[in-house]
Every structure is written in C-alpha cells, then in structure tokens.
C-alpha cells in the first residue's frame, strides 16, 4: 500500500553544497604537472638524459670508457682498434665490405643496444651480460683462468642485413645452433673464428670460445630486462611529488575555508523587540522561520509581532531579513537573569561562568554553544596551573555542562563535572519519543557535542555514547551546596566547592574557575493550594512515559510548551480523558507547532481545554476548577502541574550572584 510521504515546508532553506562530484578533481591538474616536473628533474639529476642512446657493454664499462673515448673520432668505429688492435675479419667477404666502409665493428657489435656476451671471472663465476644487464649463470663449463676472459656473443639479427638465415645454403647458417630456430633472430651465432683463425695455439682463448659455445647452448639469450632501479626511481619520485602536491592543496584549501559567522552567545540584558517596516516588508517568512519562539507571523503579506513576550533578543530575525525591513530594538532592562559579560563571566563573582538556560536563553543549541564558549574563554586566562587543584569545575551535566566538559577535555584542562542527578537529566525528563527541534536555524554550533533534529531517545543515546567514549569525568549524585572564594579568588586564586552525595557525605574540591550550568529548572512551581498527603503521588510535575496513563482521567494545568506536549501525548493514549486548564483567556506562548497540535486535538474532541480556569480544590475523586461561568468539577486520576519552575534563586544568592 503506497501512502504519500509527508512533505513539510522546511523552516530553513537548504544551502548549496559542494559535493565530491565537483571537488574531486580539484588540484589533480597541478598535482599531475608537479609529478611530471618531478620526473623530469629526477631523470636529469640522475644523468638519465646524458646516458645517451643506451648502456655500454660490460667490458667497456669495466674498462671505464667514456663517451669521448670513441666519439672523439669522426667515425667511432675507428676507435675500436685503439684497444682491440687490428681487428679485421677472417672472412674475405666481410673484409671487403669493411674496407668499403659498408661494414663496421658496430654493425655486429651494436655496442650501445644489443651488445651481449659472456665473461669468465678468475673466481670461477660466469656472467652472461646483455645491454646494461648482467646475470650470473650456474653451469659448469670446465673453463678456468686467472684473469677475466670475455667472449662477445653476437645475435643472429646482426647478420640478417645480408644473410638469409632460414636458407640452408646460406653460409651464415653454419654459425647457428640447431634446435634454436624458435628463437628467431635472437639466436646466438657461434662462429668465434670471425676475427682469428681457429687453433692458433692460444689455447686459453680457444677454450674460452668452447665454453662460450656451451653457454650459447644453455643460455642462448642475453638477459634483456633489469636495471629497474633507474626508471622505478624516477616514476616513484614523480608519483610521490604529485601525491604530496595533491595532499598539500587539500590541506591549504581546508584551512582557507572561511570561518563561520560569529554566533551571538550572550542574551541581551534589555528587553528587545523586532520592529517591522510594513512599507518595505515583502512577507517572505524569513524572519518567521528564523525565530525559535514563534514571535513573528505573516499576516496580509506583512510580518507582524504576535508574541512579543517570547522575544529572546538574539536578532536571528534581523540577520535573516533580506532587505533590512526588520530591526530589533532595545527596550527596558531585564533583571530576571544573572548579569554576565561577553565571555559569560559573572559580573557579580568574577571567575564563575554561567552557561545554559540559567543565562536566560532556553535553547539546547544555545546551551551547547555557551558551555563551549565559556570554557574556551576561561582556558586562555588561567596563567600558571598547579597540579593540586582543578582548572575548572563544571556544575551540572546538561547540554551546557557536557559541552563545557568536552571543550575542557579538548583544551587539556583538569576538570570535573558535578551533577546532582545523572548525566543529561534534563533530556531524560522529556516525554518518551519527544522530537527535539533543532532551532534556531542558521545558528552555527560551537564545540563538539552532537545536535540534530532527533527524538529524545536518539539524542540521549548519542550523548551518553559521547560521554562514555570521551570518558568524561562526570561525578553523578553530587549536589553542590556551597561555592566559596579561596586565596583571594580569581584571577590568581580560585574557589572551594563543597558538595554532598546521596548519603549526605560531604566532599570538597578546589578549582580555579567554576562553570555554573545548572539550568533554570531548579524546582517546579507548585499549585498555590494545599494538596492532601494521600493525593501527592497522583500529582506529577513531569511526564516520562504517556503509555502508563492509558485509560486514566488526567488534568493538565498550564499551557506552555511542556504542558501542551504533555497534553497532546496523553490524549493519544487509548481511553485517556485529558482536560487542560489554563489561567489565561487564550494561547499566549509556545511553539506554533504545539499550538496547532493542541488545537487539532481539541477540534476532534480528544482533549478538553478550559481557559480562564484555576484549580481551587483537590479531593479524592474530583477537583474543582474555577471558571468565569462558575466552579466546575472534573473527575481525575492524575494531575500534571506544568506552570513553569522557580529559578534556583537562593543558591545563586548564597554564592553572591544576584538575580531577580
């Protein structure tokens, strides 16, 4: 069954990307040119070019001949006699040709290209050599001498200019060994009487010729390959150079990539509000989509501010506005957040940094950024570090705390995290399957903590895996009770942090700096009525798993994001009756998506919404709601109170940080 896949209008515009398709050949041309140049250099440097038309034969190499030795003469063959003496052929035909200049020494002894032969060394080794190559033969010839004796072995191809070797009538055929026909023109010729009569009495020379004949029989072909080191070296140089060039270009390009735009980290301490010039606004939704709190909406093709109270003052909307129609203005001073500087250092107690929700911006991404940012900054101002104390102590292991710990580990600081519950407690308390939206969009992520749009379980799993993998020093179950200045406090001194564990045992840590990432949750705000003790375990302040409330009658108090998410999740359980009670006359805050979902649930009758109502009284079976039209009674099994939380004001005051 094919169902349409859901298509939602995205809130961020996808960016053009440079895929490997486009970049894969970048730098190859240069690398290739550099490789080719390197080969050229290598060849020239090792004398590959001057080595000329081919390697000299072994005896000439042994004799340490140089180019001039022969090439001084106009006809190089004329030089042969200088060493070899008068060296005419014993055959009249050859002699005539030589006299007429048609035959030269190098006609048969192609001295640079095909010159081959065999050398018998005084130590008994036999070397078969070819052009530039030699090979030791293992065979007994019975020949021995106390000096090196060399016999050139000319290949039949030298004769083919004049002779027809395949004809039995040709004289040259007599110089070939039967049974070597398949070797074609590479067959060795064994008429060693070319230059002197046989049996002249020089018995050693004759014996050498006999031995050479045996060699021609057993190893008819001169070694041809070999001498790999030169070419392999050249190619190796070339390939290495191009590889290095390629890698270097990649690195340079990566370094050059522009750093992302600086992120605004610190919330403003004055009330801010977007103001829109309606005569130029084109109604493009850029600001609406950029706002993480749904402060803006487009009505009649123009953006308008609809939930001014929720404005966070981060100016994301202003940055996204394509034509400057939207400006964020400053208003009255806000005093419900601790005062911090640009580096997130508290202005009341220098040395204490404040990150996360506590700073006044309830966003996971922001918490991550602030945690990393604070540690980055404090690391640079530490000066001398002593082994006996921590560099930084992080209080709280939520998004900001974990991010700060990761950053501290990367900066090689001595750090510890104290957490009164367990790591990522705030994420754990999300309802099962809650989607964590990753907004504001276009806000870059600082630090290494992973964040993408994900379900609660996914996010928690990822984070716990990161904590485990990085072996972050998170001490769970440690509740911080006091933070005192030590040795005059920062910059030179530090703090003493006292904490108690679940058993009430107190411990003490000394640290140069403290990052407070305790969030704003503190304790949940309670209903201003007395709740009988017997009913207390039916009153909840958070929802872990909606499934356990299936079939119950539930009342949710509040209409913030948490309350709306809870109510919607509960209303999806089979047989659950959900009533939402809210003080105000209409939706005042919260994400548009949550508001829409709640409205839909109300519209199809899965959920009852009672506006302008307050819980007056609780009893076992019923609770009383006051409404404009008089009190109403509602039957209930469970009550969720989700009317926000009280910030940890007293704790902050005890440290010296003012709030509110």
């Amino acid at each position: 069954m094919i169902q349409p896949t859901e298509i939602v209008r995205r809130r961020s515009a996808p960016k053009a990307e440079e895929t490997s398709d486009v970049t894969r050949f970048r730098g190859i041309a240069i690398a290739s040119a550099i490789g080719a140049a390197a080969v050229l250099v290598a060849v020239v440097a090792t004398g590959g070019v001057v080595r000329g038309p081919g390697p000299l034969s072994r005896p000439h190499v042994v004799a340490k001949l140089e180019c001039q030795s022969c090439h001084e003469e106009e006809r190089p063959s004329a030089a042969c006699g200088k060493c070899h003496g008068a060296h005419t052929s014993t055959r009249p035909g050859h002699r005539d040709l030589q006299a007429s200049g048609e035959l030269e020494c190098s006609t048969c002894h192609t001295i640079h290209r095909g010159n081959a032969g065999v050398a018998f060394l005084p130590d008994g080794r036999i070397i078969r050599y070819g052009p530039g190559v030699e090979e030791e033969l293992v065979l007994g010839t019975g020949f021995a001498s106390n000096k090196t004796v060399t016999v050139p072995i000319v290949a039949a191809s030298a004769c083919t200019g004049c002779h027809d070797l395949d004809s039995p009538h040709d004289l040259a055929a007599a110089c070939l060994i039967d049974g070597q026909q398949e070797l074609g023109r590479n067959r060795p010729t064994v008429c060693f009487d070319e230059h002197r009569e046989v049996a002249t009495g020089d018995t050693e020379r004759d014996a050498a010729h006999e031995a050479a004949r045996a060699v021609s029989l057993r190893a008819p072909l001169a070694p041809t390959s070999g001498g790999w080191s030169g070419p392999v070296g050249w190619l190796g140089m070339g390939l290495l150079a191009s590889f290095v060039a390629f890698a270097a270009q990649r690195t340079i390009r990566r370094r050059k990539r522009a750093p992302s735009a600086p992120t605004r980290i610190v919330p403003s301490d004055v009330k801010r509000l977007p103001v829109i010039d309606t005569s130029t606004c084109i109604g493009c939704y850029a600001c609406v989509d950029a706002c993480p709190y749904d402060v803006l909406e487009v009505r009649r093709f123009v953006a308008v501010t609809v939930k001014a109270d929720d404005c966070c003052g981060l100016t994301l909307c202003e940055q996204r506005c394509p034509n400057g129609s939207l400006v964020v203005t400053a208003g009255e001073r806000l005093d419900d957040r601790p005062r911090v500087g640009e580096t997130l250092e508290s202005e009341d107690v220098p040395g204490i940094y404040i990150a996360g929700d506590l700073s006044g911006l309830p966003l996971i991404r922001n918490a991550i950024n602030q945690g990393a940012h604070a540690v980055q900054h404090l690391a640079s101002g530490l000066g001398d570090r002593k082994k006996s104390e921590l560099d930084v102590l992080i209080v709280g292991a939520g998004p900001a705390g974990i991010s700060a710990a990761l950053e501290a580990k990367n900066a090689k600081l001595r750090y510890a995290v104290l957490e009164q519950g367990s790591a990522a407690e705030s994420i754990r308390s999300f309802p099962r399957g809650k989607l964590v939206f990753d907004q504001p969009l276009g806000m870059p992520l600082v630090g290494d903590l992973w964040l993408e749009e994900a379900s609660k379980e996914e996010l928690l799993g990822k984070w716990l895996r990161i904590v485990r993998r990085e072996k972050l020093d998170i001490r769970e179950g440690q509740r911080v009770v006091a933070i005192d200045r030590r040795a005059g406090g920062p910059p030179a001194g530090g703090f003493v942090v006292r904490s108690v564990d679940a058993d009430g045992i107190e411990s003490r840590l000394e640290s140069r700096r403290v990052v407070l990432a305790i969030g704003r949750r503190g304790s949940p705000r309670k209903l201003p009525i007395d709740i009988p003790e017997v009913l207390e375990d039916r009153v909840h302040y958070s929802l872990a798993d909606a499934r356990s409330f299936a079939g119950k009658r539930v009342v949710v108090v509040g209409l913030g994001d948490v309350a709306m998410e809870t109510a919607v999740a509960l209303s999806r359980q089979p047989g659950t009756e959900v009533t939402v009670s809210y003080r105000g006359p209409e939706f005042r805050r919260g994400k548009a998506r949550n508001v829409d979902e709640l409205r839909r649930a109300v519209a199809i009758g899965r959920l009852r919404l009672v506006l302008e109502s307050e819980v007056r009284h609780l009893s076992d079976g019923e609770l009383e709601l006051s409404t404009p039209s008089g009190p109403t009674r509602v039957e209930w099994d469970s009550l969720f109170v989700m009317i926000g939380s009280i910030p940890p004001k007293e704790f902050l005051h005890s440290i010296g940080i003012g709030i509110g």
């Binding site: 996808p14 990307e17 490997s20 690398a31 590959g48 530039g132 070797l183 390959s225």
Partner: protein, 763 residues
C-alpha cells in the same frame, strides 16, 4: 500610459482605487490579436487573465467525455477571460483564439491578488467571489455533461459550488462518511481506496479534470471508498442535494458521469494492481511524477558515478545546481514505435535515480511563494529565477518539496539592500542550447523526461498516451570500440611476438613506425581532457527559444544528447590502438633507459584506464541492484552510523521476540565481514536479499511469533541495507578511485615521451 476606461469597467476591476489601477497598469500590457490567432493554448502555463478591449475571443476545449473540440464560450468587448489562472494549477484548461481582430488587456494574476490582498473589506471578498465564479464556469465548461445543462442549472451549480483544499495525506472523505457532495479536481492528485480484509487497496488515481464522489450520491449511501490526497489538492465540491436536483432534471447527466468513471477504472485497473507490490515503484511519489514537467533522471544501471554532470553544472553556473543524491524509482520507459508510445521492450525496467535538480513543476510551489516575483516561467514551462529580483529570502527553497532550490552566495559586489545569498536552481541552462549536465555525461545516462509521458506506468494512469516524445535510452554504439579492440589484439600480439623474436626492432622498420603511431596515440588520448574539461567548447549560446524556432523554422526542439560520450568512445578505441602500437614498438623490452621508464608509466596508465573502462561497463548494473537511493560517496561514509541508529531506534518499541531476533540474528548479519562479499558476487537484489533473510528468520521461528513480529520487515530492510553498504562503498571506490592516478600518470607519460622522442632524434 493610460488604459481605455472599458478595461476598468469589467466587473472584476470596477472597484479598484487609483493606486491599485496604477499597479495593474504597470504590470500588465495591452496587445492586438489578429483573427484566428491564439491568445493562449490549452496546457500553456499562464499567470494572467484578460479583458477584451475590442473584438471577440472564443474559448474552446475538448470537453471531458467528448472526442471533438468545441467552443465553451465567447468573450466579447468588456468581458474577461482566462480567470482560470487564478485557480491553483496555473495550466490552461481551455484555449483562447480571436474570432475577429481583437485587442486585449493582460493582467498578471499575482499582481491583482497582491493589490487586493493589501486592501481590506467587502470589495475584496466580492471580487474574489467573482473571480472564483468566472473560473468555475470555465472549468465546468470543460466537462461534456455541462453542455446539456440549462443556464439556470449552471447558475445553481455556480452559486453553490465551493472550492476546498485537501492537504497532502489528508482525506476528502473516508469510508462510512455521509456522502455530502460531488468533487471535481481542479488541481492535485487523489487516490481512491477501499478496504479488504483490513488492508487498504488502491482503486484509482485521479487527477486534474477528473471527478469523484458521484457514485454514492444518487443512492444516498455512506461513502464506500476513501479519497486520499496524494499532494495538496484543490477540489470543487458541488453539494449533494444540488447534484441530485440536477440529475433529476437532466437524467442523462448522472449516467454520463458514471460512464466516464467506469471507463477510467477499467483503463487503470492493471497499472494500479502492479503498483502495490514494489517499494521503489514509480507510484511511491506519484504526486511528484504528476507534477514534474521536465524531470532530471539518471539511469543508475549505466551511470558510472563520475559526477561529471554536477561538475559541468558548477562550471557553467559557478555553483552546482545538481546534487547527485535522491530517491530511486523503477519504471519502464516509453519509446516511440511507428508513432505510438509503448513501453520499451529492449531496455526493460530501468532503475532511475532522481537527483536534486529542479523538475520544472507544472504548478511550482516555489513560484507561488516568491514574494518578489523573481521566479518566472517560460511559455514552454521552464521555471527560472531572475537573480536581480531575488532578495535571497529563501522562501522558495523552503517551499520546494524536493529540496531542489538551494541558497548560494551572491556573486558580484555586496549591496546593502540585498541579502548576501541568492536562490539558485536548475534553469535547464536556458541561456544555452541544451543543459550542460546532459551534454557532459560520458555514458549518456542522464536525461530529462516528463513522467506523465515517458514513464509507461504513469502514462497508463495519468498521461495522454500517444503524446509521448519518448526516446530510446542509451542506444549503445560500441561498434568502433569493438573494431579497435580486435585490431589492437591482432597488431599487439603480432608485434609483441615479432619484437620478442628480434624480428622487429624499435629503431627501424615497422617497429619504429609503430613507435611514432604510439606517440601520436598517446597525444590523442591526452586530448580527451579537452572536450571533457573545457565545457565552453560545446555549450552553445541559445539564440532563439525553442518555441520561436518551432514557429519560424518549423523545427521541433531536438532532445539534447551527450556530447562527451563520443569522445569517451574514441578515447577507449584510441587507447586500444595505442596499446597495440606500443606493444609492436617495444615488445617485452624494459630497459634502464628513459624508454624503459616510459614503458612502465605507459603500461601503468593503460592498466588503470583499462580497469576503469571495464569497471564502467560492469559495475553500475551491479551497484544499481544494491541501492535503495542514489547517494554520494561522502554520504556512504556517514551512512553506517545512521543505519545502526535507525536499527536500534526502531527496535526499541518492538516485542521481546523481535528484540531477541535483532540481537541474535540481525545484528550479527549486519556486522558479518564476509557476507557483503558474498552478496556482491551473488547477483541478488535488495529485494531478493530481504526475502531471503525473512525466510531464514521464519524458518528459525518455525511459525512461532505471529503478530509479535510487527516491525520486523522494517528492521530487515535496515540490516540488508547495512550489509550492502561495504559493497556499495567498494564499488563506488572502484568506479572513481583509479581516475586521479590515471590522470597523474598521463602527465608523467607525456614528459617521458618528450624525453624519449628527443633522445631518439638526437642519437
């Protein structure tokens, strides 16, 4: 400029204030049409409506249920026409032709809507109703049965019909609902489903101009089917009692409607039946298929994943507007046989990748959402962005359902009034004769198609058969490569043997000549870089739009073909010949000289090239079998972790039986080291492998488990994908890894060749 008063006497425009009139005049135009000339044709895309200043214009269409074209109405002096442009869809249902010399005023709908939108009050509502009513009248005019209606019957329908929007995935009605109306689809795609043994079964797909919901009306029964919107659907609902009144007064009407619906059902039955069984079936995103006018597809079975398409796009436009990543579909392509479009028998079912590239929707969401009108459309339907009007707000990029619009840095000097970004998307290289990507493909695997004409399954369902401009995919002409190969083997073997026997020598005779030929071959081979890298060589500036050419020269636009493919084949053929020449020149020699080094470098380059050519031929087919989506190599690198995440996430809510299966069977299966190798050589497809694993699990359970196995198939899909992942990575490495080395070696070969030739000539 002033416009004749008569224009603003039209009921629609009568109440506009002077400022609004100025806006309308600024954006509109007045022009003359000669008798018999068309103002617009059916299926044209258009965004304007018209007022007749002088003369008369007739509107005509082939009415639904008719065979012949007939006149729907005639608009004379002072009348408006073309209001259907205000309906979603923006495709003409009727053609407009001047019946006598006429002068008309054209008013862009977007301008009118904006002008009205900024004013509040009754006037706007009244005008909106007028527009709707006019549009509805023309729309109903395209249905044959309305001809038989009396004027007051038609008025009754017009008075009571309401426009409704059904969002994608929502139902116009469900089984058992009270039958409350008769629906006409103005735009969109509707699926009719019934229930059978608790499972939903698709009965029909309906599109623009189709209607539904009539069957239960006359019998006064509850709904027997679900009507599900596959995309955002705009429907016109005629209330039930109005419909009944009409059919009482005109007994023929209801029967006519029924007959059309039954015909359609019979025609679709087969295609619909086949669709349910395949997850990669082309119907999976039928909405997209119906919407696309020019969809870029990559034949995954011949695409060698070189990415040259994206590269050449970036070369032409600065930023690549094509990202080779996206869904994959299986479909038969139509080919033209004796003038009739038929599913191609020779190519069979193809797997086509749908990369991120604009598909030039018939009803573009981006264009509707653009606040400045920067997105325009050619009469042929090409959607493009005017960069100087684009403010970079990103609204279009957010609206495009398939992420085919991207935000790129704006080129040129920054201006304060404009954002630093600009929206970019494929415009079919409208400044050039043909798109760069299609022309650059070395294997001719990427091309543009219109699904409703070219995909046979979609044609069966929604298209107009016979209209197809279909093509033969990848008609291969490897002839000269084969000839070169034969020749090369013969010459190479002979030369090699003669060289090794010493009968030939590199320095004289045939061996020497072969050397020169080889050198020539190597130079020719390296010239392949020119057509491949210098895009400007074959990207021709466009001088006339294809519509203009059609009118002036009578030439239908030719389908763009690959320009690089022929060069690729020549490269391979020359490569084969060069190998033979070098074998005949040097034989088995490898000395310590420059010649020896040249030989080594040459053979290394040839081996890599030969490997590449073989990989190009054999791997894509195997790779296509193992892909669920088309992905880039860098995506594959991240995929493993994502898939394991998905596996654990979807097993978290499953029953204990399934959890145990995951732990004992599926995870070991996914982690197996040898499994992927076996899978690569087995020739099984993803689907075969899933079925095989499922069978193994079933055998293991021996019938136990029952309904506790819910969610198992999804998990099996994931682990099979995990198993294919290493194979896909290796395959894509084999396809792409050799080329950089081949190119670098070519540089080395060229340098050594110069040295070698220099040495030979000198000595």
């Amino acid at each position: 400029m002033t416009w004749p008063k008569a224009v603003f006497n039209a009921p629609l425009l009568r109440d506009l204030d002077s400022q609004s009139r100025e806006a309308v005049i600024a954006a509109g135009r007045i022009f003359d049409v000669a008798r018999g000339e068309a103002v617009y044709r059916e299926d044209d895309s258009s965004d304007a409506f018209y007022v007749v200043v002088e003369g008369a214009v007739s509107l005509s269409a082939v009415r639904r249920g008719d065979e012949e074209r007939s006149t729907v109405r005639t608009a004379s002096r002072g009348d408006t026409f073309g209001e259907e442009a205000t309906l979603p869809g923006i495709v003409r249902r009727l053609g407009a032709e001047a019946v006598e010399d006429a002068r008309v005023a054209e008013i862009p709908v977007a301008v009118l809507r904006r002008v009205m939108g900024r004013h509040e009050g009754v006037v706007v509502d009244r005008e909106r109703r007028l527009l709707e009513r006019a549009a509805t009248r023309d729309l109903l005019g395209t249905l044959a049965f309305t001809r038989d209606l009396q004027a007051d019957d038609l008025d009754l329908v017009l008075d009571t019909a309401v426009f409704e929007t059904v969002a994608r995935g929502e139902r116009a009605y469900s089984i058992g609902d009270r039958a409350d109306g008769f629906f006409l689809i103005v735009d969109g795609l509707v699926q009719l489903q019934t229930e059978q043994d608790g499972e939903l079964v698709v009965r029909a797909y309906l599109t623009r101009g189709d209607f539904f919901g009539d069957a239960e009306l006359l019998e006064i029964e509850p709904r027997r089917v679900n009507a599900l919107a596959m995309g955002d659907c705009h429907v016109l609902r005629v209330p039930a009692d109005v419909f009944r009144t009409l059919s009482d007064r005109n007994p023929g009407v209801a029967q006519g409607i029924r007959r059309i619906a039954v015909d359609r059902g019979a025609r679709q039955a087969k295609a619909v039946d086949a669709s349910a069984k395949l997850t990669q079936h082309v119907f999976k995103d039928l909405y997209r298929m119906q919407m696309a006018r020019s969809m870029l597809v990559i034949d995954q079975e011949s695409c060698v994943r070189c990415g040259h398409c994206a590269w050449s796009c970036a070369e032409v436009h600065g930023v690549s507007r094509l990202v080779r990543r996206g869904d994959k579909i299986l479909t038969h392509l139509n080919v033209l046989e004796e003038g009739v479009a038929k599913p191609s028998a020779s190519t069979g079912q193809r797997s086509l990748g749908l990369p991120n590239s604009c598909q030039h929707c018939k009803n573009p969401a981006c264009m509707i959402d653009c606040p400045t009108g920067a997105i325009g459309r050619d009469p042929e339907g090409e959607v493009f962005i005017r960069e100087d009007l684009c403010t970079g707000c990103g609204n279009c990029a957010k609206a495009c359902p398939w992420e085919n619009i991207r935000m790129a840095p704006r080129s040129g000097a920054p201006r304060a009034s404009l954002s630093q970004e600009v929206a970019v998307k494929c415009d079919l290289c409208r400044d050039y004769e043909a798109p760069a990507c299609v022309q650059a493909c070395p294997t001719e695997s990427i091309f543009r198609l219109e699904p409703t004409q070219d995909f046979s399954e979609v044609t069966d369902l929604l298209g107009e058969p016979g209209k197809s401009s279909a093509r033969q995919v990848n008609a291969r002409s490897h002839l000269f490569v084969s000839v070169a190969a034969l020749f090369s083997v013969a010459l190479g073997v002979v030369g090699w043997v003669l060289q090794s026997r010493g009968d030939w020598s590199p320095s004289n005779g045939a061996g020497y000549a072969a050397g020169w030929l080889g050198a020539l071959g190597v130079m020719t081979l390296s010239l392949y870089a020119v057509p491949k890298r210098v895009v400007g060589l074959w990207m021709k500036r466009r001088e006339k739009s294809s519509a203009v050419r059609l009118e002036t020269d009578g030439l239908a636009p030719a389908r763009p073909r690959s320009r690089v493919r022929i060069h690729y084949h020549v490269h391979v053929a020359v490569g084969l010949l060069a190998v033979a020449c070098v074998a005949a020149h040097a034989g088995p020699r490898a000395g310590a000289s420059i010649g020896g080094a040249l030989g080594m470098a040459f053979w290394a380059a040839v081996l890599l090239g030969g490997f590449g050519a073989l990989a190009y031929r054999s791997i894509p087919r195997r790779l296509a079998r193992l892909e669920r989506k088309s992905a880039l190599p860098e995506d594959l690198r991240r995929e493993r972790e994502a898939l394991f995440d998905r596996l654990y996430r979807s097993s978290s809510g499953a029953s204990d039986v399934v959890k145990k299966l995951v732990e004992r069977v599926l995870v070991p299966y996914a982690r197996s080291a040898l499994g992927p190798i076996e899978l690569a050589f087995s020739g099984r497809s993803l689907r075969d492998e899933q079925a095989r694993l499922r069978a193994r699990v079933d055998e293991m359970l021996g019938g136990r488990g029952g309904e506790k196995l819910e969610g198992l198939d999804e998990l099996i899909k994931t682990v099979v994908e995990l198993r294919t992942l290493p194979v896909r990575r290796v395959f894509s490495f084999l396809l792409r890894g050799w080329l950089p080395a081949h190119m670098i070696l070519t540089g080395v070969v060229l340098v050594l060749l110069v040295l070698h030739v220099g040495a030979v000539l000198r000595w």
